[in-house]
């Protein structure tokens, strides 16, 4: 089999799917790309058995055929080859020879019949959304996903579909993000949990524009299609916690602050916090917010005060500063509203302004204050 392909285009396409591949896998063939050539079309597939990504591109070819090519060596060589047409020659023993203007490179491929089969998209339900909507939904939720393998349901983002909205929810049991879009319409009310890795890959493979994305799912898998790029992944087979019951319906105390000022203050003060908790205590009274962190053993202390608008009784409540900083990143407005009730109950963070089609709600549990 022989085909000719542009080196830079091939590299660009492979970079979208290369992240699927793990190094030193138990099954060596999982370190390969599967190349499938059919009538001037090249399809390349990468898989880790959980997530599969494929791209398709135009090439020059007279024959059809398949081969597995070791991913790492191919990527390393493509990165160093200046833009030009490359000729791939594959013989019966799956030996791959690449010819460029600069010279010839050889690598042993593997039998494509050993490459794992992809899940088939049977019984799927589909809906569409824009690339930017999906990328935004991932960016605003993925950071709050749990790393705790003992609670698998929380190691992914929960997608809740409805006729007039899509809602993405992520939590690690200490904090929670709910991102809602009303410009997405799904055929029926449904839900599934998507693991972290495929979402990370989608985030970098998808453009941040108005391109249309098709999402299809069945009981086990999610299939995402954007033009010639496709991804499928296994869904997390677990029950997402009943998060609705933990969202306080009415936190009476409300504080509004400038987001960037609040975030910078948290960054500065948390340098002096106890590193096992990152605890920063917020003391709000009148129109003043005080931030305080300390580590008794090392005699570290950080204190700042800033202006805020506050409607409520004086309160002192402590949070993990890292949680607050990350959550503030997910708020796009100039100001944020922090809604509180007592020092041991969840606080709510909301941007003060949002597009009509979007809604973000973030919850964070406090730290018990040391006496």
């Amino acid at each position: 089999m022989k085909f000719i392909v542009s080196s830079s285009q091939l590299l660009k396409q492979l970079q979208h799917i290369n992240g699927v591949i793990n190094a030193n896998t138990v099954l060596p063939i999982l370190e390969d790309f599967l190349f499938e050539v059919d009538k001037n079309k090249l399809t390349v597939v990468a898989t880790d058995l959980e997530t599969v990504m494929r791209i398709q591109m135009d090439i020059e070819a007279k024959e059809t055929g398949k081969v597995c090519i070791p991913a790492r060596i191919l990527m390393d060589s493509l990165k160093n080859i200046p833009d030009q047409p490359l000729t791939f020659n594959i013989d019966k023993n799956f030996s791959v020879e690449i010819t460029s203007d600069n010279g010839k490179y050889k690598v042993m491929g593997e039998n494509p019949d050993n490459f794992p089969k992809e899940p088939t998209a049977d019984d799927t339900t589909s809906f569409t959304m824009t690339a930017t909507a999906l990328v935004t939904a991932i960016n605003k939720t993925l950071f709050a996903v749990s790393n705790d393998d003992l609670r698998p349901a929380m190691t992914g983002v929960f997608f809740e579909l409805n006729k007039d909205y899509l809602q993405c929810v992520a939590t690690d049991a200490h904090r929670l993000v709910r991102y809602k879009r009303t410009d997405v319409s799904c055929p029926k009310a449904d839900s599934f949990i998507v693991p972290r890795k495929p979402l990370n890959l989608l985030k970098s493979a998808l453009p941040d524009n108005e391109d249309e994305i098709t999402l299809s799912y069945n009981s086990n898998h999610l299939f995402v299609k954007h033009g010639t790029t496709q991804m499928s992944c296994r869904l997390i087979d677990a029950r997402f916690p009943d998060y609705k019951v933990v969202i306080p319906s009415d936190n009476p105390y409300k504080m509004v602050v400038t987001k960037s000022d609040f975030q910078s203050a948290l960054r500065r003060v948390s340098v002096f916090s106890n590193k096992s908790t990152n605890q920063v205590a917020l003391n709000i009274s009148g129109s003043e917010l005080q931030l305080a962190a300390q580590d008794v053993d090392f005699s570290f202390e950080g204190n700042e005060r800033m202006k805020c608008q506050y409607d409520g009784e004086d309160i002192t409540i402590a949070f993990n500063a890292r949680f607050l900083i990350e959550m503030l990143n997910a708020a796009d407005s100039e100001e944020v509203r922090l809604e509180l009730s007592t020092p041991t109950k969840a606080g709510i963070i909301k941007p003060t302004e949002m597009d009509d089609s979007e809604d973000v709600l973030m919850l964070v549990m406090p730290l018990m204050l040391n006496q």
Binding site: N22, A173, H174, P241, K275, S276, Q279, M365, P366
Partner: protein, 367 residues
């Protein structure tokens, strides 16, 4: 590259005071307030003192001293036969107390341990308070005393625990470390015995401050690899982690054959049988590892091992066998005379990631 931990750690070194002797005095009221020595009695040949009570220490009796010498120094001394089972039991009770405050415990012996309390399990707030609580629990629940040293690394914590013995507590914070180490006599340094101390003194090195004047190269020239360790330690740098002992580090099986194997098929068959045993043992312990090691012993008793690590766990018969075969084949075994083959799986990920999943103390949960 010299890796410095991103976070300042909080390490406590706990040292039970005159452990064996204190347990004996606790369990036998007749011995209280008296000079006693746990160890071999002077009647036997070459008996030595394992531990002397503080009453005996006043006379100059020390651990590892010949019992005969102890009697010369302190004629009233009472010798007690050691009861190691009893000490082990008390040691377990002490450990149970540690476990209330941290999961990262490295026992050095029955009476000494390092604790990493950077993660404040109970949310007590400060390492000094944790150490005080531990000492209190040991006194109230076990009727014994311990000394604690608190600092940001093992080296300083250990020296600190020795500073106010018995029943002492000593904290050396980061700002005090440099000066503290500078004033420290060389024989107090971890790993510096009589011989090295003598050598250091001959070189005019009497304190940490003296060592600090030398470059790492010079120290290496005089003391070899230990030189680098001294170089760092006099600057208060000791990144050794507190290493809890793991229950299981590896699981494996091996087989010695009635005759030497020379054919590849025979070897592969043997590997298959060994793989089965390994899988059964892994299942039994509910473990999966990322590293496989194949051991080969030849007819001349020469032993080689070959290993490979994977990003994910080897968890079934087929993947273990495939990896074992690949490793074996790399040794060009056809024609070699092989007496024994073994497969070991190690690098169990659960223990490594244990610390990450844990949340900070005091952090409240949504569900």
């Amino acid at each position: 590259m010299e890796e410095t931990p991103k976070v300042l750690r909080k390490i406590i070194h706990i040292d039970m005071d005159a452990f064996y002797a204190s347990v004996e005095q606790r369990d036998n009221p007749d011995l209280r307030g008296k000079p006693i020595a746990v160890g071999g009695s002077p009647q036997g040949r070459g008996g030595v003192v394992a531990t002397a009570s503080y009453e005996a220490r006043k006379f100059g009796v020390r651990s590892a001293m010949p019992s005969k010498r102890a009697i010369q120094l302190c004629p009233a001394i009472i010798f007690v036969k050691p009861r190691f089972e009893a000490y082990k039991e008390v040691s377990r009770q002490v450990r149970a107390i540690f476990e209330r405050y941290t999961d990262i415990i490295e026992p050095l012996s029955l009476d000494e341990a390092y604790l990493d309390v950077t993660i404040d399990k109970q949310g007590i707030g400060s390492a000094i308070d944790i150490a005080t609580a531990i000492k209190g629990a040991i006194r109230n629940e076990l009727g014994l005393t311990a000394s604690a040293g608190i600092s940001i690394n093992k080296f300083i914590a250990k020296i600190a625990s020795d500073m106010h013995k018995p029943d002492g507590i000593t904290f050396i914070g980061p700002s005090r470390i440099e000066r503290f180490v500078s004033d420290l006599p060389v024989e107090k340094f971890h790993g510096v015995g009589k011989v090295t101390a003598e050598k250091m003194k001959n070189l005019g090195l009497h304190t940490g401050g003296d060592i600090k004047k030398l470059s790492e190269q010079e120290l290496r020239k005089h003391f070899g690899k230990a030189g680098s360790f001294y170089y760092k330690i006099v600057r208060g740098i000791d990144n050794r982690p507190v290493e809890p002992e793991q229950e299981t580090k590896s699981i494996g099986a091996e087989d010695t054959f009635p005759y030497d194997l020379t054919k590849l098929e025979e070897m592969e068959l043997a590997l298959e049988k060994i793989t089965e045993t390994v899988c059964r043992r892994l299942d039994k312990h509910n473990l999966k590892g990322k590293t496989i090691t194949v051991k080969i012993k030849y007819s001349d008793f020469k032993i080689i091992t070959r290993s490979k690590s994977f990003s994910d766990c080897l968890n079934d018969h087929n993947s273990i066998l495939a990896a074992a075969r690949e490793l074996l084949e790399k040794t060009e075994p056809e024609g070699a005379k092989i007496r024994l083959l073994g497969i070991t799986i190690s690098n169990f990920p659960s223990l490594l990631s244990k610390g990450n999943g844990k949340c900070a103390p005091g952090q409240l949960n949504l569900f």
